[in-house]
Symmetry: C2
Subunit: 455 residues, 2 copies
């Protein structure tokens, strides 16, 4: 068993700073663990309280007789070292320090104390100044934001780790809204012990995680980070969104985390060398992640576009080319056979324009033909659902094709409420959908490049 | 009265091709006009029908005794010239030809006939091969897609014209979902007579339109278009999304509209020269449009960032710099006065990081101070609504500041359902909100540049 497992699957957790005051973070965390999906044992620790939610409250972690795997600490910064020391003495394996008030506001010495204690006892520590861990499968959840304000995504295969708690909270909330699924989430804050490199090394061996995503502004130890990513990047896709890419951004970083962001060019070069995929923004990060976690690798870079709206086909063709991919040319046999099934005004080039009176059958024929054609490596499937003759059954057609195809299919669909409902249906069964041609083309490029690296 | 007014505000409309068959486009258009918000008189024309929805149906437009301002034609292509000729004889001022089957499938001669008839009678024609017109104020609506599949946006100040019907239908649907508002919409298709240049010249004088947006793949007459845009671009912002920017995209265009898209570099250079703003994608188009239609011009390019999430502040600082804007430095007086009202760990630099325990008061103080500070030209206001102490009242604070501020305020907020509901509240009162720092920074840049041109 990997020692970091205890962060995600502890059998027994102590919440240090569990409180009766509902506004206190310690209260929310304890309550979430005691009354939520988590199935392990939970002990509240608070010297000022005798009972909490009907259970005995302990004055110190050392007084708990049970073996404690993980301590979650949410008390004022000045009291954290003593509490952590007690965890060490008690033999606690891992600790998450939620509390802020350390390096990020200049309290370097106080944070150094935490590092020493962690080393002394060989106790792994996440934080301080973080949200901690969310694992939808085990129910482990130290994210202390109320669920009505911040949704929680369902179990999936995308892991997300973040230095910034704010970015982390937005990401969880956003994933939950979009129906995106997650394997493990870690907000690791100041990284006094466990850092981005440790987490990536752990996640590459986590069988539930297919794609590793990260947001950070700087890494704690550059050499360690790039050695580890280089070692593991080929095994699983690693996608990173780095904050602080300009000099001004860098300066903003130093006044916010107390760490140096480093030159963005240096990072980008190192990312490329290590085989890490760099995303330019949050949406791209998840476009890439959803694609890489659900689509097969394409054999080549030839894209066949199918559309019911000419304009959208043109935009996608533009972006396919801009992303150094090619427009496929289907074989004469495919085109001839399709010709017989289509009205004369359907254009069977690339893009194939099924036109505004397209129906489900037309999509079915072309999609099947494109997937089977030896000159096609990927399909860009534009489905504008507003057109009069296209019924909701198109969703079943796409789901069937997606589940059986050995070639990637990129579904692009944009519009209003009706469209969004049908898109969500596809997302729910694991089909990534895109609103804009350029987003799909960028994801195609990343999927192709990652596949090439694996050869 | 401008002759194009009849497309948007006709007193009397004839629907040629009005049909009892509910699946026919002519039925949907007639029904929408007769039973929808349109307050003018509507006459159905169909030689095969005597009565439609309880009203008398005419065999030809010439048999209508009333003066007809506008004819909407939706009959098979081969019959269109005769019907249009009859409109000319009747003295109809304008016609919208919805029907396809002309230049876009190679029927150049048939389309030439339409042009001749239009010229002969001095009758202005929109189309063929288009969706026609939507004007939420007059209720004029020839967009023939059912409302459950395609929503309709409310009255606003953004005009949108499009060559592509598919792009047009997606845009209307999407605007309606997002709560974006529209002044006039025109899908002009093959542009046998009225083209993008005519429409822009018309819209620049339309008092309801503040910003003109357009999607097209190519223009009908390059010189005319650029002369007109050059003349009008300073008066109102013109934002264009051009399809067919690569060679492959261009080729796709020619097989889809039968028009040449032309080199994208030539277009981009000409756009710049004419003072036209070019958007890279649909989302950017509306980010720019919503910003330019609602925000005051900034006096300079100095941006003060306010955030409750450090990571988001860093990302915005990056993008502010990448867009050649500057990070503002508030005066010592402002900082000193804020210092007294803030807890010591709030960082009063740029970004101002109110931290994850920010409340409404903290936002109120900093937002007011930034708006008043002479060293600040624009405010980038990041509001992550997930944080525990920030209540929904923040929305009122932002609305108040937005309504009274003479400086642009860019609201950035991302997350799940709770966040989206609060964002929609702001959109509803006309405040553009952004999900991503980079989108806001690009819109800041466009707003600043447009303001500079006006000097």
């Amino acid at each position: 068993m990997n020692e970091l497992d205890y962060f995600f699957n502890p059998k027994c957790v102590a919440v240090i700073g569990a409180s009766r005051d509902q506004k206190k973070i310690g209260h929310v965390i304890y309550r979430n663990l005691a009354e939520g999906d988590f199935r392990g044992r939970v002990y509240p620790v608070n010297p000022k309280t005798e009972k909490l939610l009907g259970r005995k409250c302990y004055a110190s972690v050392t007084q708990i007789k049970d073996k404690v795997d993980l301590a979650v600490i949410s008390i004022p910064a000045d009291f954290v070292p003593k509490a952590l020391e007690e965890c060490g003495r008690k033999g606690v394996k891992c600790a998450i320090i939620i509390s802020g008030g350390f390096k990020e506001i200049g309290n370097v010495k106080l944070e150094d104390k935490l590092e020493k204690i962690s080393k002394k006892y060989g106790m792994r520590v996440v934080g301080p100044n973080c949200l901690g861990v969310f694992d939808p499968e085990s129910g482990m959840d130290t994210v202390f934001l109320p669920r009505y304000k911040l949704g929680r995504p369902k179990t999936g295969s995308i892991a997300f780790i973040t230095q910034s708690g704010a970015v982390g909270s937005v990401v969880i909330d956003w994933m939950s809204r979009k129906g995106h699924r997650i394997s493990k989430f870690v907000s690791y804050g100041n990284a006094v012990d466990v850092d981005e490199a440790d987490l990536m090394e752990y996640l590459v061996n986590d069988r539930k995680t297919k794609v590793i995503c990260a947001y950070f502004e700087g890494v704690r130890e550059g050499r360690k980070f790039f050695e580890i990513t280089k070692k593991i990047a080929g095994k699983k896709p690693i996608i990173i969104l780095k904050g602080g890419v300009t000099a001004a951004g860098t300066k903003a970083v130093s006044s916010h985390t107390g760490s140096l962001a480093g030159s963005s060019e240096v990072y980008s070069a190192a990312f490329r060398q290590a085989g890490v995929i760099q995303a330019n923004d949050m949406e791209e990060l998840f476009d890439f992640a959803r694609t890489l976690s659900s689509q097969p690798s394409p054999k080549g870079n030839r894209v066949q576009i199918i559309t019911d709206g000419g304009g959208f086909g043109v935009l996608l063709a533009d972006h396919v080319i801009n992303n150094e991919l090619k427009l496929a040319r289907m074989t004469k046999e495919t085109v001839d056979s399709l010709r017989k099934k289509m009205p004369p005004y359907v254009i069977l080039k690339n893009p194939i324009d099924l036109t505004g009176d397209a129906d489900v059958e037309r999509y079915q024929h072309t999609l099947n033909a494109a997937v089977k054609d030896k000159n096609v490596d990927m399909v860009g499937l534009i489905v504008l659902l507003q057109v009069p003759r296209l019924g909701g059954e198109i969703v079943d057609t796409i789901i069937n094709a997606f589940k059986t195809s050995e070639k990637p299919i990129f579904v692009i669909s944009a519009g209003g409420d009706y469209t969004e409902v049908l898109k969500k249906t596809m997302e729910d069964v694991g089909i990534p959908t895109f609103s804009y041609p350029q987003s799909a083309a960028r994801a195609m490029k990343v999927l192709y490049d990652f596949g090439q690296e694996q050869l």
